[in-house]
């Protein structure tokens, strides 16, 4: 599996190398607020790309992966999270979240929310959603329709998320890295 990462810069307003949230004036349809210093997405999946585009438009730096988080983590994410411990959001497959969750222990951070989107490749790609963790997100994520563009929906949900919301440790270490046969298990998640 090829591993690579790209950081999508936030227009001309972004200073190269700056790793903080920077809203882009005049471009954001929603309030230019985000709780997240970074959003991670797996560029192989359309839902993940839509998720990233939406958060990017809200001023969140986004990092693309292709199933392997090693270069991202050891490249800059570990140092970044170790330095400021600001939350990171993502929409990836199970295995990427599994690895990031294990790695995040080194910076004292944990998964506080996860929504699983199990896509049945044999049934028109319809997704079945489940969620655990931060209550305000769980309610909405669980009710997403199966045919929805859940990537976009989750990004919009995350844009409104208040990190001061009470945490639920039930979101930690829920599953292993493996996906069900003939299905794609994508996960929306927050590590904080």
């Amino acid at each position: 599996m090829v591993s690579r990462r790209r950081v999508m810069k936030i227009g001309a307003a972004t200073v190269a190398g700056a790793l903080v949230n920077r809203p882009v004036p005049g471009r954001n349809p929603a309030p230019a607020y985000s709780a997240f210093q970074r959003a991670v997405f797996d560029e192989r999946f359309a839902q993940c790309r839509a998720f990233a585009a939406e958060l990017n438009s809200a001023g969140v730096l986004t990092s693309a992966i292709r199933g392997d988080v090693a270069e991202l983590w050891y490249g800059d994410l570990r140092a970044l999270m170790s330095g400021n411990r600001l939350a990171v959001a993502g929409l990836t497959d199970r295995v990427s979240l599994f690895c990031l969750e294990e790695l995040a222990r080194d910076v004292g951070m944990r998964v506080i929310f996860r929504a699983e989107h199990i896509i049945d490749r044999e049934q028109d790609g319809h997704a079945r959603h489940s969620a655990v963790g931060s209550a305000s997100l769980v309610v909405v994520a669980r009710s997403l329709p199966p045919e929805d563009d859940f990537g976009l929906a989750m990004a919009r949900l995350f844009r409104r998320f208040d990190l001061s919301e009470a945490r639920d440790s039930a979101a930690q270490k829920r599953t292993g890295p493996f996906s069900p046969k003939n299905k794609t298990a994508l996960v929306s998640w927050i590590i904080a």
């Binding site: 988080v69 690895c99 930690q172 493996f178």
Partner: protein
């Protein structure tokens, strides 16, 4: 909140206060959600009372802080469980060996103290990951190659102390054998250095293993006699070139000759870790899966039936991929000599030239490089390969516990162990995936490893079945003298009970050492069956 066994809440809190004084309040973790970070993601006791969960964690940044922690633990009888990066999943990960232990997380001790290019060694602290050391070497353009395990997110130290292994030449992929010198905080808080490290002003700590007198380094691997805080490693000089070649052998019975010739190359130090395969057996897992089912439908097949199966598959029974490291003239010459020898030993052997690379791999080409660990490049891609296994069930497991046994390096042992593994699965009422086409793991050059992977779950009922299978397989294999070289904490007592020569005299000796070195039994109680005197009744 989980407390250490036989420790009052008051004493536990007093100990935590002393830990905070030693390392600073920010580096003692006792909230439920912080402690949960240290749960073993692959636990075979997930959510059950027997799950090995920590009571707290403490993260020192220097040796003196480790000493202070150890001394405080002695005062209050607190069991400690040191981890380097704690990522050896299937062998317990970051969770302690005994429920209620305080994890000593050495992640902040992450300095690369020295890398000497000319003398080809590194000296590192426990929290240095393989990625960290790799990047350090690459970024400085040092002409050295790491030998890394797969996945590579663990530490050289932790992998070595757990007798882990990699993929390059035998002298380097046995990670404990490739270490040279260590520093250890003893259970009573003293600091020792082994080998030449014990000599003031000696500049040979990472050059000469032994020093004078008994060599004690082995006491600190897979054990509980101290907390290792520094460790040296011999590194492979960066080879100029890398070449692979594949040999196939047509008949099932050719495996014996194939193993003989591969072993010859291995023992002369001419190839890296060989990768055995079975084209005939592998084909039968794909479109030919029905053929394999037919072969196995009446139980373990006869050799004649297996030979007929191979003939029908129209593919070679066996293959082995060889990996050559060195100057271009040498690797090409070795491959040529290997072809000559295999051709003479195995009628109908075929040869396929593989990849040729000049080393080091440029940084920009790393991402597209296949089989990175063979090139000393750490990776996490193995998780992707496993996660996308087409055989993954509708209800995939959450992890696994590996049961690898050590068998002699010969075809007959491989075949016999495959049959025993197959029968043990059937006796346990579990699906048996073993076939006569089992191929060995060759991490350690002088023996084969084979075995099985048992699924673990978040579901206690399923885990109970997995534990029963694990025990069944371990018991049946032990009857033949085939036992594991390491195992999940849940099975360490059982494993060590199989090392039973002369009424378990080896374990009794280790326990005498334990009682002398760690009289309060604070370091990793029960690790690999070594319990302190006060806890021996806990032995499973």
């Amino acid at each position: 909140m989980v407390l250490p066994p036989n420790v009052s809440e008051a004493d536990f809190n007093a100990a935590l206060d002393e830990f905070r004084s030693a390392v600073g309040p920010a580096w003692v973790f006792s909230s439920d959600e912080d402690v949960a970070l240290y749960r073993d993601s692959y636990s075979i006791y997930w959510g059950e009372p027997e799950e090995r969960v920590a009571s707290a964690a403490v993260a020192p940044a220097k040796v003196e802080e480790v000493q202070q922690i150890v001394r405080a633990a002695n005062r209050y009888g607190i069991p400690l469980y040191p981890i380097s990066t704690g990522r050896n999943l299937t062998y317990g990960g970051s969770a302690p060996n005994m429920r209620g232990s305080v994890v000593v997380d050495l992640k902040r001790m992450n300095r690369i103290l020295e890398v000497d290019e000319k003398r080809a060694f590194a000296l590192v602290e426990p929290g240095v990951s393989c990625f960290d050391l790799y990047h350090y070497i690459r970024d400085r353009n040092l002409k050295l190659m790491l030998d890394v395990p797969d996945p590579g997110w663990g530490s050289p130290m932790g992998n070595s102390l757990d007798h882990g292994a990699g993929y390059t030449m035998a002298a380097f992929r046995d990670h404990f054998a490739a270490h040279c010198g260590m520093e250890v905080v003893t259970p009573e808080g003293d600091v020792i250095r082994t080998g030449m490290g014990a000599v003031p002003n000696a500049d040979t700590w990472q050059d000469f293993h032994y020093g004078a007198g008994p060599n004690v380094d082995g006491l600190f691997a897979q054990s509980n006699f101290g907390i290792v805080t520094k460790m040296g490693f011999w590194l492979m000089p960066m080879p100029e070139a890398f070449l692979t070649g594949t040999v196939t052998a047509p008949r099932f019975r050719d495996l014996d000759a194939l193993v003989q010739e591969v072993s010859y190359l291995e023992d002369l130090g001419l190839t890296g870790m060989p990768q055995y395969g079975s084209p005939a057996g592998q084909a039968a897992l794909g479109p030919g899966a029905g053929a394999m089912a037919s072969l196995m439908q009446n139980g373990w097949p006869s050799t004649e039936a297996v030979e007929n199966f191979v003939t029908a598959q129209k593919r070679p029974a066996w293959s082995v991929q060889l990996y050559f490291y060195g100057p271009e003239e040498t690797v090409r010459g070795t491959w040529q000599a290997a072809r000559r020898r295999f051709g003479k030993a195995i009628a109908g052997a075929t040869f396929q030239d593989g990849e040729f690379l000049t080393l080091p791999i440029p940084k920009e080409k790393e991402p597209t490089q296949s089989d990175k660990p063979r090139l000393g490049i750490p990776a996490l891609e193995v998780f992707n390969m496993v996660a996308r296994n087409p055989q993954t069930a509708d209800d995939p497991s959450d992890g696994h516990a590996d049961l690898f046994i050590t068998i002699p390096r010969k075809a007959s042992a491989l075949w016999e162990s495959a049959r025993v593994l197959y029968e043990a699965h059937r006796e346990a009422g579990m699906p048996a995936r073993q076939s006569p086409f089992a191929t060995p793991f060759t991490y350690y050059s002088r023996c084969f490893w084979t075995g099985t992977t048992v699924p673990t779950w978040r579901d206690p009922a399923k885990n109970a079945r997995s534990r029963a299978l694990f025990q069944k397989v371990m018991e049946r294999c032990a009857e033949h003298g085939w036992v594991g070289y390491r195992t999940n904490p849940a099975f360490q007592d059982l494993l060590i009970s199989k090392y039973s020569f002369n009424n378990n005299s080896l374990l009794r000796f280790q326990e005498k050492l334990k009682d002398a070195i760690d009289p309060n039994g604070i370091i990793s109680p029960g690790r690999y069956g070594i319990w302190p005197a006060k806890m021996r009744k806990n032995r499973v």
